[in-house]
């Protein structure tokens, strides 16, 4: 999924924090790492990309769709259909086992167009690739951090989204698992032909990404363009 951002400006009213992105273009199938210190607006940027927050100025275009022209329901439907999300704290549903957690986006999507049989096959394939087969009946509370994140990745990939957003997916993992999860994300998403945007604090993980977007210069109340390196 192509991503085009022009003259984007977002301001948090209560803190005065501003994020400004004059221009950013990510081609379909590209993997991009966003780096920068805490509070530099990385997560806010992801929320703007997914339509959870709306920009004060400028626009975000995902494929052929201009987010500013969509109402709340349409943005929600777009998120459901075209965007996979991987979180730092996994955000798995505690009362669903691994298999059921992976199936959650399908259960939540109203018109995914996938049958139950198709979805079961897709889940089996994802679990097989991510090494989750033997854990399919386990609940999140009984999984290691790495296993939880692998489950979250499988969930994000289930409906074959055009864009996968990973918000510090390695933040809670040990060094070995960090590399493993990054590699899994890159390989799975490349294989699927989707665009990947991953936010990370850890500059050692940017290896292997096509693009790196640095938010290091970003300061509160002083709009600074995000720098591509």
């Amino acid at each position: 999924m192509d991503i085009l951002i022009e003259n984007l400006l977002f301001r948090w009213a209560y803190s005065g924090f501003e994020l400004s992105v004059p221009k950013l273009h990510l081609e379909s199938g590209v993997s991009a790492a966003i780096v920068g210190p805490s509070g530099s607006g990385k997560t806010t940027f992801l929320k703007l990309l997914t339509g959870i927050e709306q920009a004060d100025k400028g626009d975000v275009q995902l494929g052929e769709t201009l987010l500013a022209k969509l109402n709340g329901n349409q943005r929600r439907a777009l998120r459901q259909r075209s965007i996979g999300y991987v979180f730092q704290d996994f955000k798995l549903i505690e009362y669903l086992n691994v298999e059921e957690n992976i199936l959650t986006p399908w259960r939540l999507s109203e018109n995914s167009g996938y049958s139950r049989v198709n979805m079961k096959a897709r889940v089996s394939s994802l679990m097989d690739r991510l090494g989750l087969v033997s854990l399919k009946h386990r609940y999140p509370g009984k999984l290691s951090q790495g296993e939880r994140q692998r489950t979250a990745i499988a969930r994000a990939l289930l409906l074959k989204p055009g864009l996968v957003i990973a918000d510090e997916p390695t933040g809670n993992l040990d060094p070995d698992n960090k590399i493993l999860v990054r590699d899994l994300l890159l390989s799975e998403i490349t294989q699927q032909g989707a665009t990947l945007i991953m936010v990370t604090h850890d500059r050692s993980l940017i290896e292997g990404f096509d693009r790196v977007i640095d938010f290091a210069d970003f300061q509160s109340k002083t709009p600074v363009k995000a720098k591509a390196i």
């Binding site: 929600r76 999300y85 549903i93 669903l96 959650t104 939540l108």
Partner: protein, 392 residues
């Protein structure tokens, strides 16, 4: 609501079994207790009133009106004071309506034995399901529940309960032969054993049968003395414990038949005038008998029941408010605890209303199941109450 939403609801409730069970139980009790109480009170009132309406007047020895009503209508409450059956004959002679004598005091397998006449069955519209009504001494007809629970059929026998095993000279248990079984009536009649008045008097020791003293070989041991044609037998002459074709001729009473006791008379006056006249005849201070209207007694009893019900209703209301308050706290705490989960649903593209629907469905499911169980409990309580009303 779709199957996926129901799936999330089911998985959440299943995963949190402990919490769900506590909430379900609390809600069930809150629904069931007032439902049961209301239903049982109505049932009790209806059943008790129906029996009282069916029996306009009851005559008995002066005393507690409630006891007399419970005794004559529901075969409960022991009444020691009796009156001679000649009161019944006198009443019949006045022709002021139909009346039936009732004598109680014995049991068989803890079921009351009711001594009465065939008119009782006609007055209560009781119909025979199997066999016949009693036609000779020692026979009994069983209420439907007695026959079912004791597994008795016509032709079989049952013993009356020993009244006092230490009284050697007293009344002996009598072996009764089942002549028939009544159809179910849903009244205390289903739980009673009916015998002829004379059979009841024999159980009472007022009549008996024994071997002929004149034909006995060891007459000297059995006859204490003979004076003016009255034979006084010794304790070695044992009475028959069963009445059959061979020995029934030997059964006799040692007092005038008119003097034999009954405990109550059920009266169906022929008119309002007859009823008024009867009330006037019996209810004066010099008469040792009293004539009561069971409906009035039952209604005064129901006034107490209703008052107790109102108190219980208030009690349940307060408990309900407390449970509702606690459930609300659990609800809000649960929603706060699950904010992360709900946020995840939103990120995954769910409507905000999805989360509300989910929570409402979870509580709705708990309430629905609780309400279903409350209905089941009420149905069981209904069966129990019907059984109680038939036996009490």
């Amino acid at each position: 609501m779709n199957r996926h939403e129901l799936f999330f609801v089911w998985r959440y409730l299943d995963y949190n079994k402990g919490k769900s069970l506590v909430l379900w139980f609390s809600l069930t009790m809150i629904f069931a207790l007032p439902m049961c109480l209301g239903h049982l009170t109505r049932l009790f009132e209806h059943s008790v009133r129906a029996r009282a309406i069916d029996t306009p007047l009851v005559l008995g020895v002066k005393g507690n009106e409630y006891d007399l009503t419970l005794h004559a209508l529901y075969f409960q409450a022991d009444i020691q004071d009796t009156f001679p059956v000649q009161e019944w004959h006198a009443l019949m002679a006045k022709n002021r309506g139909a009346s039936v004598p009732v004598a109680l005091g014995f049991t068989a397998f803890s079921r009351p034995i009711v001594g009465t006449t065939l008119e009782y069955f006609e007055a209560r519209s009781m119909q025979i399901q199997e066999g016949n009504t009693f036609v000779q001494l020692g026979q009994c007809v069983l209420g439907s529940e007695v026959a079912e629970s004791l597994g008795l059929d016509p032709g079989m026998s049952l013993m009356s309960d020993a009244f006092n095993v230490f009284n050697l000279a007293g009344d002996y248990p009598l072996k009764m032969k089942v002549s028939g079984i009544f159809k179910p009536t849903g009244t205390p009649d289903d739980y009673a054993i009916f015998v002829d008045l004379k059979t009841h008097w024999i159980m009472d020791g007022l009549g008996h049968g024994h071997e002929s003293l004149s034909s006995s070989d060891d007459q000297a041991d059995k006859v204490l003395q003979t004076k003016n044609g009255v034979v006084m037998a010794s304790a070695s002459v044992l009475p028959y414990l069963e009445i059959n074709q061979e020995n029934q001729q030997t059964f006799h009473f040692h007092s005038a038949m008119d003097e034999l006791p009954v405990t109550a008379l059920l009266i169906w006056p022929s008119s309002v005038k007859s009823e008024t006249l009867l009330m006037g005849e019996f209810n004066h201070s010099s008469n040792r008998l009293q004539l009561i209207r069971p409906l009035e007694v039952v209604e005064s009893m129901m006034a107490w029941v209703i008052r107790i019900k109102q108190f219980m209703d208030l009690n349940y209301l307060l408990i309900g408010c407390t449970v509702f308050g606690m459930a609300s706290i659990i609800f809000f705490l649960s929603v706060r605890l699950r904010s992360d989960e709900f946020e995840t649903f939103h990120y995954l593209g769910c409507r905000r209303t999805f989360v509300s629907r989910l929570v409402i469905l979870e509580w709705g499911a708990l309430m629905f199941v609780a309400a279903c169980f409350a209905v089941v409990i009420t149905l069981f309580a209904d069966r129990w109450m019907r059984w109680m009303l038939s036996t009490v």
